[in-house]
């Protein structure tokens, strides 16, 4: 197997072991997809569906509830992990994460604005179901722009500094969400709690399909910058001397992060720590170069989120845990461990 890979590995900046890991992660992704589709409070056999041996009800649950939900979890996990990996590279900071630095909060604030105020300002027939994702993207982009200003163009100003800015931005966004919660009606409030805890319960094809259409090109767009992110690790002046247009690279990473996190948050609420934890696990397994890190994070993030969603559905059947609670419960201790590790070096 290994020899076969080394024979076909013509890629320069990814080694045979890393290629093997990516292949294994793809297999893991398919297994989690299968588990995510089959298990739940309503058992569905994927193979029964495939061969038409299931009932009408099973078919409807499968096509309209289970499948879009699993696919949404997959793309959201991939988006958060990709955003974490590329932001960590851009900031040259292992603690960067769309949640910690406030990007997710910005997206949630954007979405909240639309939920509470939107209906009176923008007639829903203009953007229809897309006004929410668009507003979330704008919120995410705004926060990243603020960070850009505060860190003087993402110059390296130390880990603590950026985290402090993130805390402040998070606090400001919570104030905004708090005010909006206060003035919201009961039905709006139900929608709001959904944002703060995160859930894939609202998945439907009308929203999941456009998400794929926007997010996948963003992935591809960023993938070809992987090597530039490696060169950036030498420091900005060095990267420029090696021919990297650092300004356009920053722009690219920020815009992609805003798009994928904005869309993800708008569809599933705030799901913490996936963007932080997944790239670190991927680095621990196979190495730090971005040509490996970025695709591996996308694939692994996707499987982890599908499994997390599965757990949130089956742990306390027939009720459902908000998936954001679950990821934070696992991710927060990991974050503490990471801080201790970074402090040591």
């Amino acid at each position: 197997m290994f020899e076969l890979i080394s024979k076909f590995n013509k890629l320069k900046f990814i080694n045979n072991l890393q290629l093997l890991i990516i292949l294994i992660l793809v297999v893991v992704l398919f297994i989690s997809l299968y588990l995510g589709i089959s298990l739940g409070s309503f058992q569905i056999s994927f193979f029964d569906y495939l061969f038409g041996n299931d009932s009408k009800l099973q078919q409807r649950v499968f096509e309209e509830i289970r499948l879009p939900r699993v696919f949404l979890a997959g793309i959201v996990g991939a988006s958060l992990a990709l955003s974490g990996a590329s932001l960590q590279g851009l900031f040259r900071n292992p603690l960067a994460d769309p949640g910690l630095i406030g990007v997710s909060a910005g997206a949630a604030l954007g979405a909240t604005l639309v939920i509470v105020l939107g209906s009176s300002w923008v007639p829903s027939y203009i953007f229809g179901p897309f006004i929410l994702p668009l507003s979330a993207i704008a919120g995410a982009a705004f926060v990243i722009y603020l960070l850009y200003l505060f860190t003087k163009g993402f110059g390296y100003s130390g880990i603590t500094y950026m985290l402090l800015v993130g805390i402040a931005v998070n606090a400001l966004a919570s104030v905004g969400i708090g005010i909006l919660t206060f003035i919201s009606t009961d039905s709006e409030l139900r929608g709001l709690t959904f944002w703060t805890m995160g859930s894939f319960g609202a998945a439907n094809w009308l929203l999941v399909l456009p998400a794929y259409i926007f997010i996948i090109p963003a992935f591809i767009w960023l993938l070809n910058s992987a090597r530039k992110l490696d060169l950036l690790q030498l420091g900005e002046p060095e990267a420029i001397r090696l021919g990297v247009d650092v300004r356009s690279l920053k722009f690219k990473v920020i815009i992609t992060s805003a798009i994928v996190v904005g869309i993800s948050v708008s569809l599933s609420g705030m799901i913490g720590f996936v963007g932080l934890v997944v790239p670190h696990l991927v680095r621990l397994i196979g190495g730090v170069n971005h040509n490996y890190l970025i695709p591996a994070s996308i694939i692994f993030g996707s499987s982890i989120m599908i499994i997390a969603d599965l757990l949130s559905r089956v742990l306390i059947q027939p009720a459902e845990l908000p998936v954001g609670l679950l990821t934070s419960a696992i991710g927060a201790p990991f974050f503490l461990w990471l801080i201790l590790r970074v402090k040591k070096t």
Binding site: K12, N93, E238, R241, G243, R283, V288
Partner: protein, 257 residues
């Protein structure tokens, strides 16, 4: 062909860092920039390499204004080794060296990638370190890895006669005597192969022995520029460094204690 700096001055907030410097670096030539701390050596190197723009004056690469050359094209013409920043993630030594490989977009180069990396690692005595983590290396070892990266950036086929220039900011800092000499000899070798090399160095004897020309800076002004024997005189050095310097007439060795 050459790199030329014409009347270049550089100011930060009205404070003059460099004033009216003329500089010329030809192929096959090693030019050393020397001077006390704060003389503007690194700033001059940054201006010549294109990191910063001069407040007045111009830098020309092969007769073209540096500003008009895209940063991608510059990467093929010159490489720079400077005092580097800390690298956060755990890259291997091999990966750091490979960062010097700039994509040439031509298939005939890509086949030689691993060959080029292996040869250069060999040349720089880094073969045993290739799979170690860069961050656990000593300061001197890290410098050698960066030097290897700087060479890889300008790698060409042996039959190529492309013009290439290297700027090195204190390349021998932290190196032990063995590797200091090895690196200086490697630089000399590169100059013979056709590279033009601009060098900042603190050791005046190294500058005297290895350079073709020396530029002596003090407080942003060029005190003297020319052959080592013209610039490195006891009188000029004593004046610039503020300590009594002696130059042995026969061996040209400079002593100051």
């Amino acid at each position: 062909m050459s790199i030329v700096g014409k009347n270049i001055s550089y100011e930060i907030n009205g404070a003059k860092i460099l004033e009216d410097i003329d500089f010329k670096l030809n192929q096959n030539e090693i030019v050393s920039i020397i001077g006390p701390n704060g003389a503007g050596k690194s700033t001059l190197l940054g201006l010549l390499a294109g990191d910063i723009l001069p407040t007045s004056g111009k830098v020309f690469y092969q007769g073209r204004e540096l500003e008009s050359i895209s940063i991608q094209d510059r990467a093929f013409l010159r490489s720079v080794m400077s005092q580097s920043q800390q690298i956060i993630f755990d890259y291997s030594v091999k990966e750091i060296i490979e960062m010097g490989w700039i994509e040439r977009g031509i298939a005939k180069y890509s086949g030689n990638f691993s060959e080029a990396v292996t040869n250069i690692a060999d040349e720089c005595d880094l073969k045993k370190l290739l799979h170690r983590k860069f961050n656990v290396l000593s300061g001197g070892e890290q410098r050698r890895v960066h030097y290897a990266r700087t060479i890889l950036q300008l790698w060409r086929h042996s039959n190529s006669n492309d013009e290439r220039f290297m700027f090195l900011d204190e390349p021998t800092a932290n190196l032990d005597l063995y590797y200091e000499l090895k690196l200086m000899n490697s630089i000399k070798e590169k100059a013979k192969e056709g590279y033009g090399i601009g060098l900042i160095v603190h050791d005046l004897n190294l500058a005297s022995i290895f350079s073709d020309k020396v530029l002596l800076l003090k407080n942003g002004e060029c005190i003297s520029y020319g052959e080592p024997s013209e610039v490195l005189t006891a009188k000029k050095l004593t004046e610039v460094y503020g300590i009594p310097m002696k130059v042995n007439d026969r061996t040209k060795r400079i002593t100051y204690y």
